[in-house]
């Protein structure tokens, strides 16, 4: 069972983020973390491997710093890691990223692709589906359970008010939702292996891509502007007797805020 896991390095949830002067770039404090949904994906891949044997290959697209999430994957137990690193890959949208990832995935035979249901930095939640589309695979989004047998997979997906169970032939792509598993904490033996691991790197040329097909040039979606949410007005305290205060609150809601 060959399993590919797509991982993304994102700004640490506590990193400071500011909008650049041009309004379309972000200045992000250089503190990084692995996207939490991708951790579920790696954990699931390792559990499948433990049940069925095989190989777990972790792939990330990003700059050199992204090597840390790949090493984390190896520390957790992944067998191989691949960094897609090229100036031409940067600043792409979900489409351009999914396109490059799908090319890299297709280089080796695989049975299962796992990734997070969304990255918690831009929250778009589109790369997994697009990779499946580029590779012509079934896609099951937001799984909370996965069982694999004889070339087929049964997955559970949380839906409003219940659970949906679906079956797909392999190879297929699944995106991981919270609740799928509890990612392991790496053992020191894994950490040591990861520290010494040589991480393979591929460029656009290695994947047979022209720079125009990837990154900013290959993107279909362009950021026009970032803006901050409107500041919430200060809390207004209505003083007086409860009855009068309540009437005043209703008056404000109806006449001023016009919520009714």
């Amino acid at each position: 069972m060959n399993i590919v896991v797509l991982v993304k390095q994102i700004p640490d949830p506590e990193a400071l983020v500011a909008i650049g002067g041009d309004g379309v770039s972000l200045a992000i404090e250089p503190k990084f973390a692995m996207n939490v949904f991708d951790e579920f994906a790696i954990e699931e891949a390792l559990r499948i491997k433990a049940r069925h044997t095989g190989k777990v290959r972790v792939i990330a697209l990003g700059s050199g710093k992204a090597i840390e999430v790949l090493r984390t994957g190896i520390a957790m137990g992944a067998d191989e890691a691949l960094l897609l690193e090229d100036e031409a890959f940067l600043d792409g949208d979900g489409y351009a990223t999914a396109f490059v990832l799908s090319r890299a995935i297709a280089q080796e035979p695989f049975d299962i692709i796992l990734c997070g249901r969304q990255a918690i930095d831009d929250d778009r939640g589109e790369v997994g589906q697009m990779v499946a589309q580029f590779l012509g695979l079934p896609h099951v989004g937001g799984i909370v359970k996965l069982d694999v047998t004889d070339g087929r997979a049964v997955a559970e997906v949380a839906v409003e008010g219940g659970q949906e169970t679906v079956e797909v032939p392999l190879p297929a792509l699944f995106t991981a939702q919270k609740g799928l598993n509890e990612p392991r904490v790496p053992l020191i033996t894994g950490v040591m292996k990861a520290m010494k691991a040589q991480i393979a790197r591929l460029t656009a040329a290695d994947l047979g891509l022209a720079p125009a097909q990837a990154g900013r040039s290959g993107a279909k979606v362009k950021v026009v502007q970032y803006s901050l949410p409107k500041k919430k007005p200060a809390v207004q305290i209505i003083s007086g007797e409860p009855r009068e205060a309540a009437m005043e609150a209703v008056r404000i809601l109806m006449d001023v805020e016009k919520v009714f």
Binding site: T72, V185, P186, L187, I188, A194
Partner: protein
């Protein structure tokens, strides 16, 4: 000059930071409040293999260099000092002499299980009348045939009351002072070896600290940890710099934990219609804290680098320990001011950092002793 961590060290820092955040930070308050050794966390954390950090890979360790070890000590202390003390005692002082001088039999029985967290190790220096003044050690070791017989009482022993294996400092001849000292291995269950009083402490309350009593404890010749008799102080000097620098690293960790909470509070707490972080006096506090923490961090990691490069480090380690500790004490104090009265409530963490940081004043040598040592070293004997 090169101030950068290697890619491997950066990665280790990332992993240990995440591991501490995930396993230790959420339990830190409970560890402090319950004031008991967190056995479940101990099993969970030590099961990952970190206790063998400093030891060779061939025996299940990681062969980490001193800089990497310092990252480990710093991050652990950031999570919970009480827990960090227990772990570091096991990983460094409590096992070092067994690793260095133990027979293969002793290593199989004591070191390897301690590296796996199955046995809890400690080192016993302090007595009620001696701490930094090692030459005043009164615990006696007398030769009887080929055996040694130990008598005395140790105090302030980290992990002491729960220890399975103890490295005990004892004198063969009090008249010889520091030149009569030796380390002996004593295992739990040896007749005459028993825990005494457990101390009720201001901080580091997750660590069990207390008294150990040695009443005619008979141990075989191979339990003398050393190739020669009366060389204890010489052997101690092999890890003294790392122990002192480690204390500095723990100071960095506590300071960072307090600073992070102070920063979070300064960004959120509103007074007079503005966040308090927008006031100059609060900003000044962060400028000072950040500057002194930066200086402390450079000193600690510089000392660690000197140990790694096998350069003399007695002075640098002592300075790093003292400076980082004083910085930490200042930071935990400032953070309680930034938090205002909330820092006085047990409900929040700043009071814990404030209490925990005090232990740094004594561990690794009091600053009175360190200043005297440094002054003598600088001025020379006159």
């Amino acid at each position: 000059m090169d101030f950068a961590l290697t890619e491997e060290q950066e990665f280790f820092k990332k992993i240990i930071t995440d591991t501490v955040d995930r396993l230790i930070v959420p339990k830190a308050r409970e560890i402090d409040e319950k004031e008991e050794f967190p056995r479940e966390l101990w099993r969970e954390f030590t099961g990952l293999g970190y206790l063998g950090l400093r030891y060779p890979e061939e025996i299940g360790g990681m062969n980490a260099d001193p800089v990497t070890a310092m990252i480990f000590y710093e991050q652990l202390a950031r999570g919970s000092v009480g827990f960090a003390q227990s772990v570091i005692m096991n990983a460094l002082m409590g096992t070092y002499f067994i690793y260095r001088f133990g027979t293969e039999e002793i290593k199989k029985r004591c070191l390897y299980p301690a590296m796996r967290g199955e046995k809890i190790a400690t080192m016993c220096f302090t007595e009620d009348q001696s701490g930094s003044d090692l030459a005043a050690t009164r615990t006696r070791a007398e030769k009887d045939g080929s055996d040694w017989v130990l008598n005395g009482t140790k105090m302030w022993i980290t992990n002491g009351p729960i220890a399975d294996i103890a490295t005990v400092l004892a004198t063969t001849d009090m008249a010889k002072g520091a030149k009569g000292l030796n380390f002996f291995l004593v295992e739990k269950g040896t007749p005459g070896f028993s825990p005494g009083q457990v101390l009720d402490k201001l901080g580091c309350r997750g660590t069990v600290t207390g008294e150990l009593v040695f009443d005619n404890v008979r141990i075989p010749a191979e339990n003398l940890l050393g190739t020669e008799v009366n060389k204890g102080v010489e052997y101690l000097s092999e890890i003294l710099d790392e122990v002192r620098t480690m204390t500095g690293a723990m100071a960095l960790g506590i300071a960072q934990a307090a600073y992070d909470e102070g920063l979070d509070y300064a960004r959120k707490r509103v007074a007079f219609g503005k966040t308090i972080g927008s006031y100059q006096l609060i900003r000044a506090k962060f400028a000072d804290m950040a500057t002194e923490m930066e200086a402390s961090r450079l000193m600690v990691y510089y000392a660690a680098w000197r140990i790694k490069e096998k350069l003399s480090c007695r002075k640098e380690a002592a300075m790093a320990k003292m400076f980082a500790t004083e910085t930490c004490l200042k930071v935990v104090d400032e953070v309680t001011r930034i938090w205002g009265a909330n820092a006085f409530a047990h409900e929040y963490n700043p009071q814990r950092y404030f209490r925990d940081a005090r232990f740094l004043l004594y561990g690794g040598g009091t600053h009175e002793i360190i200043k005297d040592f440094l002054g003598r070293m600088i001025i020379g004997k006159h």
